[in-house]
Symmetry: C2
């Protein structure tokens, strides 16, 4: 399927069948998220891929009891770094230098200017910047799921602080930002399955200059 | 090309040839961005598609003089709503009700709870929420461009306040959040064209539970 066909096929699935998504498809969706570009290549987030039924049962009340949480095969939790520190930046650049076989100091100017830029922001601003990068991967994962004919529900309706607590994210330096439930639509029980996709007209969304 | 093939083909192109991207491809990329999901379907952003050479020349110094700005065929500016107001929410729901031929008051409960949720946030938080939605469309547009074999450079390195001023965005209730330069790679002059794509290993990026 082309990207446009995939996007037209998908919708925000409210009811799922509980059927398991094959591991290979899950891996393909996660690989797409991994390949998504991020600012300076930092990839400042972790994705939790949750299929443990008991854990999903505990997450459901934190997400306004939405049934997709437990009817999904897997729930992806996109969790952004709660801070972008010099140490984390160093680690990313060490990997780039190693994998590209560059001289050890060849990226120092760029790296130092990046550290200075983040250093001039507040911790909250650094977290917000990391959260935005997670949304790029989130968008890419949504397209990748649809291409695999896997339904995906983007979900912001949950209590991040409670989910962070349940999953022990703050100790890992992470904050949950958004969820993607992966599974298969239960079209017979999902009123949204048959409804028209509504989007702002292109002439209103886009300004050409 | 599959999504994974597209993502492996693309890279953050630093030098472009200046060759024009056919209008049909630009429209396809914008259509993908339009179809991207957003929280409650608000699509709280505008995309400016800029191909005017003089205007691109004025934008380049605002974006640290990066050559892609003027070597691109089109520059997409993703600009988020600077606020999510009850009036804007009403307008979105009017369209949904009209297009889905629903009773006029059928979404009132949902709409009112949405207004209450945004009302409980600060204006800055509402803007941050809108900006994140723009990043979903940004991620989708990046995949769509690669599928069309159009190079795309995601660019956060610019001065948003200066760009807002140049484009008159604040008067439109918008704030620029990120840029996507669209064009064709000048591989002979782009050192990055031949370098290995570096990403965090999947076992480090993903936690399975």
């Amino acid at each position: 399927m082309s990207v446009l066909e995939s996007l037209n096929w998908r919708y925000a699935t409210k009811r799922m069948t509980g059927e398991k998504v094959p591991q290979q498809k899950i891996e393909s969706i996660l690989e797409a998220a991994r390949l998504a570009p991020t600012s300076s290549g930092l990839q400042p987030f972790t994705i939790l891929s949750i299929s443990d039924r008991e854990l999903l049962g505990k997450i459901r009340p934190i997400a306004h009891n939405q049934p997709q949480i437990t009817e999904a095969s897997h729930l992806l939790v996109f969790a952004a770094w709660d801070d972008v520190t010099p140490e984390k930046i160093d680690k990313v650049f060490e990997q780039i230098i190693r994998e590209r076989k560059l001289p050890a100091d060849s990226l120092d100017n760029y790296k130092n200017s990046l550290k200075a830029r983040f250093g001039s922001l507040s911790r909250e601003e650094r977290y917000q910047s990391a959260a935005r990068q997670a949304y790029i991967a989130f968008g890419v994962a949504i397209v990748a799921a649809a291409e695999q004919k896997v339904d995906a529900t983007p979900m912001e309706g949950f209590k991040p602080a409670e989910l962070d607590e349940l999953l022990g994210l703050r100790e890992k330096g992470l904050r949950s930002v958004t969820l993607l439930a992966l599974g298969y639509r239960d079209a017979a029980n999902d009123a949204l399955a048959s409804q028209k996709k509504v989007r702002r007209p292109i002439g209103e969304l886009v300004i050409e200059l």
